[in-house]
């Protein structure tokens, strides 16, 4: 059992932040890694990227968007309550090194994970340019944290209610066309966003890493449910990833695989409401 030590609602309650006491995981977790959570006895196992950690207090932070049954259930938990199972840290950590200038792009809840990786890149000595986006101002998260980490930060919203109006790809293209010293783009967010970013960076021939979040069960390489096609080869996201070279990822396949259970998700929610 793992205790929630702090709960914070963000983005009008659609995104939740939990600090959870998990000392063994906190001691090992590196940026880009994730945990598998099972809330209760009847719960499913879902992957959640570690958004932050504090090895001294033994706390890991997870930030999630409420999208389905399990995340709705998690929103109903209060600080002090318990999560039944958390296992990790899983996956390979993000490959962080001092490259010079890097661009960190995050969309929606992806910013939660991005800021952990951005912090690591900053600590490694990089010049970090951040681009974060959301649908509207109220749904934007971790802007202050990102401002503190990044040397430059651009904020976009789809409706123009904050920062630049439009998608994250627009400021990214601007940077790519103006600056020639960008060594890496690290993108995390909705699949369609990562796909478009990769299209763009291919044009400018800049290395792009993406962090994928497919359907998983065990997270240890046992089930193969999280398989993704990278460079025409099947990879298990949980053990070979979650970070991959974005230009080689078959995003269309990933998107369709992630939609496989949409109807079940609805049935499950309806069942819990009844």
């Amino acid at each position: 059992m793992f205790q929630i030590t702090r709960k914070q609602e963000m983005a009008k309650g659609s995104i939740i932040r939990f600090d959870v006491s998990a000392p063994k995981i906190a001691a090992k977790a590196k940026a880009g890694q994730f945990v598998i959570i099972r809330v209760n006895e009847t719960g499913e196992r879902i992957p959640m990227t570690i958004a932050d950690k504090d090895e001294f207090s033994g706390i890991i932070t997870i930030i999630f968007q409420v999208v389905g049954k399990t995340t709705a259930l998690m929103r109903s938990l209060k600080a002090g309550e318990l999560i039944r199972d958390i296992v990790g840290p899983l996956g390979k950590p993000a490959e962080v090194e001092n490259l010079g200038t890097v661009i960190m792009v995050g969309g929606g809840t992806g910013v939660a994970i991005l800021h952990h990786v951005a912090k690591a890149f900053k600590e490694a000595g990089n010049y970090v340019i951040g681009i974060i986006g959301s649908k509207e101002k109220d749904l934007l998260i971790l802007e202050n944290e990102m401002t503190a980490i990044c040397d430059e930060l651009v904020v976009t919203t789809d409706d123009g209610s904050w920062g630049v109006r439009g998608f994250v790809t627009q400021p990214l293209e601007k940077y790519l066309s103006e600056r020639y010293d960008i060594k890496l783009v690290y993108a995390i967010g909705p699949i369609v966003m990562m796909k478009n970013i990769c299209k763009l960076t291919s044009k400018y021939n800049v290395k792009t890493m993406v962090s994928l979040n497919p359907v998983m069960i065990d997270g240890t390489g046992m089930c193969g449910g999280c398989r993704v096609t990278v460079d025409n080869k099947t990879q298990f996201c949980c053990v070979d990833g979650p970070d991959f070279d974005g230009k080689l990822v078959d995003f269309d396949e990933l998107e369709k695989r992630n939609n496989m259970y949409l109807k079940d998700e609805k049935d499950s929610l309806l069942f819990s409401i009844r």
Binding site: K24, I25, K28, R38, T42, G43, E44, R45, K69, T70, R84, D85, I86, V87, G88, P89, L90, I217, D218, T220, G221, M222, C223, G224, G225, R227, V228, T229, T234, V239, E253, K256, R257, M260, Y261, D264, E265, D267, S268, L270, F271, S272
Partner: protein, 594 residues
């Protein structure tokens, strides 16, 4: 109580009757009647004498009317014309004349006398000879759930023996002086002795006798492939069917558990040494039980949220009820074994960190990585590895969706690729969760199916179709990226390959499309590298399996041992336990010397 009376009257044997003079065989088996029949001459006419299953009554089947009490006076061999009547012997019951034939049992010729008075049940066999003809009791099969009923539930298929059936089956054992069955058992259970204790009605002692060597009899009795281990070497198997050792083991374990006779062993010496066991499957549980009993303090680390490894995520409820697995684990816990769930060794804690706190580490992590075939379209939706399918169904209880949150994979026309136990388990699980059309596709023929015979039989009875000598070539998908069909090619068997099995060869141009909307790939597993990524000093072979010293199961890293599928590749529960036992002994020896 079950209607088993009929079952042991079945006469299925290779007994022979011979003329005592010319040694020509008399008999022919009349299968429909299940009697042994032999020919003789009576009053110049051919008659058939029927021997009953017990060889102690005879009946006459001829055109000559013979009534109860008649005495046959001139019985002769139809071949050599010599009389079968013995002049110096009379019936011990009614003093009527007696005839002699020779019967064989276990390649020995035994004279068999019978009273010529029709209806008299006397026969002149000595007690010792009577014992030799134990063949007369056929192997007792366990009563099973009706095949139409069982596909509607997840309850275990066989009900298990009743004590009557167990007693009857135990009586078949010949109590060999040099029993071969024990050699066939990877943990060398004292099989003849536990069976003898059943015949002596000492069921409690019999159960304890098994527990001396095997800590998980209820599990092994259910999932061991006895037909290729102990029962394969049973001497009865050469002429008839072997003693059902597995069924008896299961019966005793269930008896002990249900009667509340399981006792937690008293640990006499407490050693101040800690052992870490990685993985709570059969190998790990054996090491834990053995070493805890010797006084060590054992901690098991399990990656998943439930202990049991393949016993809980892989083997379905109808083959191994989860309550039995949890009972065995509770037993270990009561012995003092600690179980730490949600710990991935190599990630949460590394082996090197374990060695700082524990005197020795045993790695029994199994071969958990699913193998795919790398075919076109294999990543389409609704194509699952058997690991994923069974994990969803068993561990996550997806068959209870939406009560449990994990979605249940579903399809109307399901194809399972592979021919092992895991393929059978997947197919039968699918059948129990709402699919009526399930086909197993396997590239070799029926003979080569690696699954247990019982599983193949059960699958067939339940209505699973077998498409043999067929191999998938690619998968076809809908525009939603869900699987809608599988292109297959027919195969034929060629020359035997390295494994001794005939190699399947594709037949050119025989491709065809098999419609399906869900596929389970059950073609095997390989080793999971997660643990070893942080422990490069454990040597592994080219397939990724751990190299160990076969006598101690110690790895290239001192104080680190390994056993089970992570050493051998996919194998059986009991072999993993055997490997665990070797490691436990070696650990004890090494730590005692330190």
């Amino acid at each position: 109580m079950f209607e088993h009376d009929v079952k042991y009257l079945k006469f299925k044997t290779y007994l022979n009757t011979y003329c005592p003079h010319c040694r020509n065989t008399f008999n022919y088996e009349r299968k429909e009647e299940k009697y042994l029949v032999f020919k003789a001459k009576y009053k110049e006419q051919d008659i058939d004498l029927k021997l009953s299953p017990y060889l102690d009554v005879f009946d006459i089947d001829s055109t000559i009317p013979i009534i109860e009490g008649d005495i046959l006076e001139d019985l002769i061999c139809p071949k050599c014309k010599n009389s079968l009547i013995v002049t110096n012997l009379v019936c011990g019951e009614c003093a009527s004349p007696v005839a002699e034939v020779i019967i064989t049992a276990f390649s020995k010729l035994i004279p068999y006398y019978f009273c010529l008075k029709h209806g008299c049940e006397w026969h002149g066999l000595k007690k010792a000879d009577e014992n030799k003809i134990k063949l007369k009791i056929p192997r007792q099969e366990m009563p099973e759930q009706d095949q139409k009923l069982r596909v509607t539930n997840h309850t275990e298929v066989p009900y298990g023996y009743t004590s009557e059936l167990a007693h009857l089956e135990a009586g078949r054992c010949l109590q060999c002086k040099t029993p071969k069955c024990v050699d066939g058992c990877p943990v060398n259970i004292d099989i003849p002795n536990f069976i003898r204790l059943i015949t002596e009605e000492k069921l409690d002692d019999a159960a304890k006798k098994i527990k001396e060597r095997n800590v998980l009899p209820a599990i092994c009795g259910r999932v061991c492939p006895q037909e290729s281990q102990c029962e394969k070497l049973c001497i009865l198997g050469t002429r008839d069917k072997p003693v059902a050792i597995g069924h008896l083991e299961r019966f005793l374990a269930d008896y002990e558990r249900k009667m509340g006779l399981v006792k937690i062993p008293v640990i006499k010496t407490k050693l101040n040494k800690k052992i870490a066991v990685v993985g709570s499957g059969p190998a790990g549980l054996t090491v834990a039980a053995d070493l805890q009993q010797l006084g060590y303090q054992v901690t098991i680390f399990e990656a998943l949220h439930e202990p049991g490894g393949v016993l809980v995520y892989g083997i379905p409820e109808f083959r191994l009820p989860k309550s039995i697995v949890s009972f065995e684990i509770e037993y270990l816990k009561e012995m003092g074994v600690r179980v730490e769930l949600n710990h991935i060794i190599g990630k949460t804690i590394t082996v090197d960190e374990l060695l700082q706190h524990f005197s020795a580490v045993f790695i029994g992590v199994g071969a958990g990585l699913p193998v795919f075939m790398n075919l076109e379209g294999e990543n389409l939706g609704n194509i699952f590895s058997s690991n994923e399918y069974l994990t969803r169904m068993n561990l996550m209880k997806a068959y209870k969706f939406p009560e449990y949150d994990t979605p249940k994979p579903k399809g109307n026309k399901i194809v399972v690729i592979g021919g092992g136990n895991v393929a059978m388990d997947s197919a039968r699980t699918a059948l129990r969760t709402g699919s009526s059309d399930v086909t197993i596709v396997y590239r070799r023929s029926r003979q080569e199916l690696p699954a247990r015979h019982e599983e193949i039989r059960h699958a067939g009875e339940e209505g699973i179709k077998f498409m043999l000598l067929t191999n998938p070539v690619r998968f076809l998908g809908t525009d939603q990226n869900m699987v809608k069909g599988m292109e297959c090619i027919r195969m034929k068997l060629g020359e035997p390959d390295a494994s001794g099995r005939r190699r399947p060869i594709p037949i050119e141009g025989s491709n065809f499309i098999l419609d399906c909307d869900m596929v389970v790939v059950a073609v095997g597993t390989s080793s999971n590298p997660v643990l070893f990524q942080t422990t490069p000093d454990i040597n592994r072979n080219k397939w990724g399996y751990v190299e160990v010293n076969p006598e101690t199961n110690e790895t290239s890293k001192e104080f680190v041992y390994a056993g089970g599928d992570i050493v051998t590749g996919s194998a059986t529960v009991i072999e993993a336990m055997g490997a665990g036992r070797i490691a436990a002994n070696a650990i004890n020896k090494k730590l005692s010397a330190v």
